[in-house]
């Protein structure tokens, strides 16, 4: 081998190695000082997907396998009256959230994989019910995606509310990326917006489009499992799982197309490309994308002053790297990322409680509360 071909070989090898090692900054940091600890508020939950507070010391927690727990002072009680749940692949009982008027109405919202409908398989559904003494009463189906499929992937789902009387929820692309996310006449790969009573808001972006699903608010999503309201702007922030690479944070707006699978920063799990496009003038760019993927699930802003320095920061669970990620933003740009509770386990969910503390759902563990050291 002569010197030239040796250098050529070395350059090729470097390029091949770098292909997969490409990272999107800022680089994740380990904090120099840790001035917080955690305590377990409820243990032994396999996949604690959703968490909502009924009062300062009472919560409802979903387990994906189809259990809704009422939890108070560490005691778990199963809540009766759930709809039929289709536990399949990444699907099951998903998110739970109290209505903004819970104090007077006692209403809660649920998303779940549902087998209802003609075709075999299932799709994501949104329910509303009254919560009373470990029971769901007057359960009502507000929305069900179709068409059913036996695919195990990408059901979403998260629920959140804006300050104008709307409920938002997500459905993933249901394992059919070539068909669902870019087609507004089909469900899947969308964020939906309804009035609190389940009716379609008159100003939803696609109400006048023929054959469209009128509940759609934004489209071109892959599998959104994190959604929250920005405490100051009131805008809906969503993150979604990318394929290999290309998990995204998006601030959604009415009628906008977020690009999946036409544009993405990710590649197939097998390593083959999905598309060579990362942008398109008709589609939105993410606020941030993770490369490599962290497998994000759950998202909230810290709006309280409970933790020094954390106010206004965004918190996202990482299933893959088993930590809670803290993202520091400046003018809607991620300027720093930090690991919180490294190696804690697969973080499925994070919520801010009425006491201003952050609560984590960790797979196989349960619900953890982060406590600042005095």
């Amino acid at each position: 081998m002569n010197l030239n071909s040796f250098f050529f070989l070395m350059i090729s090898v470097t390029l091949i190695i770098n292909c997969d090692a490409q990272e999107n900054g800022p680089k994740i940091q380990t904090p120099k000082t840790v001035d917080y600890t955690f305590e377990v508020v409820a243990d032994s939950i396999d996949i604690p997907w959703g968490l909502t507070f009924l009062s300062t010391d009472e919560m409802l927690v979903t387990d994906k396998s189809g259990i809704l727990y009422h939890i108070k002072e560490g005691v778990k009680t199963e809540v009766e009256g759930l709809p039929p749940i289709y536990v399949r692949g990444q699907g099951g009982l998903l998110d739970v959230a109290i209505s903004p008027d819970f104090e007077t109405s006692n209403l809660i919202y649920l998303t779940a994989s549902s087998p209802l409908g003609e075709e075999p398989g299932g799709h994501t559904a949104l329910y509303i019910a009254k919560y009373e003494n470990f029971k769901l009463l007057d359960l009502e189906l507000l929305y069900k995606g179709d068409y059913n499929t036996k695919k195990g992937q990408h059901w979403g789902s998260r629920i959140t509310f804006d300050n104008d009387g709307h409920v938002f929820f997500s459905i993933g692309d249901r394992g059919n990326r070539e068909v669902n996310p870019q087609d507004i006449t089909r469900d899947g790969g969308k964020i939906y917006r309804l009035n609190l009573d389940g009716s379609i808001p008159e100003d939803n972006p696609f109400v006048d489009k023929d054959n469209s699903r009128k509940a759609i608010f934004s489209y071109g999503h892959r599998n959104p499992q994190g959604m929250t309201i920005h405490p100051e702007t009131g805008k809906v922030w969503v993150h979604e799982h990318g394929p290999r690479g290309g998990d995204e944070i998006n601030v959604i707006e009415a009628g906008k197309n977020f690009g999946w699978p036409v544009i993405t920063y990710g590649i197939n799990y097998s390593g083959t490309p999905i598309t060579d496009k990362t942008e398109d003038e008709k589609m939105e760019q993410p606020l941030y994308y993770w490369l490599p993927s962290i497998a994000p699930s759950g998202m909230t802003f810290s709006s309280s002053g409970v933790y020094p320095d954390w106010k206004g920061n965004l918190f996202v669970g990482s299933l893959k790297f088993e930590y809670l990620e803290r993202l520091i933003l400046k003018n809607n740009t991620v300027v720093a990322r930090e690991k919180v509770l490294d190696s804690i386990g697969r973080v499925r969910n994070v919520e801010e409680g009425p006491d201003g503390h952050l609560y984590l759902g960790v797979e196989g563990k349960g619900i953890l509360k982060i406590i600042p050291k005095k």
Binding site: D46, I47, Y86, G92, K151
Partner: protein, 134 residues
């Protein structure tokens, strides 16, 4: 004598029916591959090697190959707690994926005959059906 012939005939018919019902192994492996891509790949990876320390390997996995029933049970009902695979400890949760008995048989046949795994086993739907919670 006629009765014996009749019984004999029925037994033969029964056996051939059973054999006819049984999916050919190669077909089962092919169907299992599709299930694998849908339900298993994200954790156990395309090459069956898993993620060291997090998701155990299926390729050349002593845990899998030394006791097939154990894995059928795990896919059917889920698996949690500490296990040792190829000398390494794993302590994650694998929840039931909601697969039916035929799908579990197919995906078992796929993983038992992929990535260099060698196995005499041909997992049938009936075997999965008879794997029951203790």
């Amino acid at each position: 004598m006629k009765l014996i012939h009749l019984i004999f005939g029925l037994v033969i018919a029964g056996i051939s029916f059973q054999l006819y019902q049984q999916k050919p192994l190669q077909q089962s492996i092919n169907d299992g591959e599709e299930i694998y891509m849908d339900f298993c790949l994200q954790c156990h990876q395309q090459n069956g090697k898993g993620v060291s320390g997090v998701f155990p390997p299926l390729a050349q996995s002593d845990y899998l190959l030394s006791d097939v029933n154990r894995s059928i049970f795990a896919i059917k009902y889920g698996l949690k707690g500490s296990i040792i695979v190829n000398g390494k400890s794993y302590n994650s949760v694998m929840v039931s994926q909601g697969l039916d008995n035929e799908e579990i048989a197919d995906v078992m046949n796929y993983i038992l005959h992929s990535w260099g795994n060698e196995s005499e086993e041909n997992v049938t739907q009936e075997r999965v059906e008879s794997t029951l919670k203790k």
